[in-house]
Subunit: 321 residues, 2 copies
């Protein structure tokens, strides 16, 4: 019986059941990327599906944004592995009422996201179906991949960018209100943090995970994979300004709103204590992304969140359920 080092949750129970059924045929399930040795380093491979009505709605996004978002979400797994992109394969399922122009626009968005990450569109497949669905498979290559495993007691935890804006966009759409531009942009046009991750890998990062399931959902996976305990001080979490306003409207603590929101394609990174604020500022200058200290790694297990010194239980973001 294979036991995967994943946090709790219904989707992860399903993955555990699959891994148990597959036995030794399954290799590397449960991480952000599959890592396959090649002649020089390793290939990083990941596949990610975006389904209309589950991950996006057509009245929220343009066709080109649907393509960008699906590809960027998949490319974010390469960021977690600190693997520069070779390219993407795009399998697109197209509903009967879509036009040829819609399809070309979706693929233009996929191509733009791949290109912005330094990769090509390597191949794809077209099928028809009841709804738009994009499965993007990303291919990266690196000599020194990061994984969720490797965080050590004494490491400190950093988050790229700011969290909560995509959740703010969703909150607006779900009450039929047009989101503020900054929220909409964060949802429609996420930027995979590949360049920052590669640099953090070079600077000695021990582990990374992307925050597509929210900090509340993903931090426990990093803890489980590394066999350590994480403590995260929520008041340190970088909150996008547009998320502050939405949290206030909803009467939720802003840090909690941001840490529980999913669809953030930012990274949680474990770095040794020698990496300091000055290094973070240099990274921000080099890669145009903020890096914020949010917590620390200890011996033990699980992810513990505190808000002003008081334990705070967070939920993760469940795309599946």
């Amino acid at each position: 019986m294979t036991t995967l080092p994943l946090g709790q949750g219904r989707e992860f129970d399903r993955i555990r059941a699959i891994a148990a059924a597959l036995g030794p045929v399954a290799k590397g399930l449960g991480g952000d990327c599959a890592l396959v040795p090649d002649g020089v380093g390793v290939l990083a491979l990941s596949t990610d599906t975006s389904v209309e009505g589950v991950h996006f709605r057509r009245d929220w996004l343009s066709a080109e944004e649907i393509g960008w978002r699906a590809a960027a979400a998949a490319l974010s797994d390469l960021a977690a592995a600190a693997a520069p992109a070779v390219g993407v394969l795009a399998a697109v399922t197209v509903p009967a009422d879509a036009t040829a122009d819609d399809l070309v626009a979706v693929m233009r968005g996929v191509g733009a996201a791949a290109s912005a990450s330094g990769g090509a569109v390597l191949g794809g497949d077209l099928a028809r179906g009841a709804e738009w669905s994009l499965t993007i498979t990303v291919v990266g290559r690196t000599a020194r991949p990061l994984t969720r495993a490797g965080a050590l007691p004494g490491d400190r935890l950093w988050v790229t960018g700011a969290l909560g804006a995509p959740r703010a966009a969703l909150a607006h759409w779900l009450r039929d209100v047009v989101p503020p531009a900054a929220a909409r942009q964060a949802f429609a046009h996420p930027e995979p943090r590949i360049a920052a991750a590669v640099r953090l890998g070079d600077l000695g990062a021990h582990a990374a995970i992307d925050l597509s399931d929210g900090l509340g959902g993903d931090a426990p996976h990093l803890a489980a994979a590394s066999g350590v305990a994480l403590t995260i001080e929520l008041e340190r979490v970088p909150v996008a300004p547009v998320a502050l306003a939405e949290a206030q409207r909803a009467g939720i603590d802003a840090a909690r709103f941001a840490a529980e929101g999913g669809e953030d394609y930012e990274l949680l990174v474990a770095l040794p204590p020698i990496f300091g604020e000055r290094d973070a500022v240099e990274l921000t200058h080099a890669c145009a992304v903020a890096l914020t200290l949010v917590g620390a790694v200890h011996e033990g297990e699980g992810a513990r969140f505190t808000l002003h010194g008081v334990d705070a239980a967070l939920r993760g973001w469940d795309h599946f359920g």
Copy 2:
């Protein structure tokens, strides 16, 4: 403006429009596999979607067969590239009424197909949606890939296995009749011809393509990619016995029935004339698959089919339309 060397057809017009819109960001669209150089040889990558109601129906196949068939169809692209399998990534979209056991059974089928081809299940993704959909991305590696390009005037054309049985199964299901066991098995449990393709590559094959769109649909792609003309004598095409019976019932010439039927995961291979019947018999003994001479390669363009010396226009199989 990029022009892809593909045959005619609505799906291929869509792929051409996408390639034109993407420009230099698109690399290698239109082949069976993307070929990416790695440290030693090349990686062969391909992605393939199977949608419920389009590629299969749940009352036709068991959950495990749905998984096997989707993975085997994708692995067949590695056969066209003569690339041994490293593994597969499986993105599975699951409808609301599916059980956890259904999902595990589907993935058991994916794992069995990967394992039978010598590969692992490297990763995947789960999403929910209106219908079952599997996007399988295959990863292979070889020092000497085959492609659709490379067939030379003077080469002879060979087909693996026998054609038409999956079409016979479909014909039964579409008139609400249980198909004969041999037809059902061919549809539910296709066997990617990777081992035979690798051996044919070692024996000097110049080009290959898989016949998922039927010999009528795929031969023109090989002609276009190689910049040659193909002539195929339909009376030489190996017809599965169960397809003979179904063609007779339908009043269609059996060779035409088999050559126009899609869902055959067999290969069309261009081999130099030194490869003869004795070599074919040896391959059959080594790989347990028949190899039948069906035609020849000439200077010119396009694929020409004849039946007893008379030109015969064939249609391809359109999964998409």
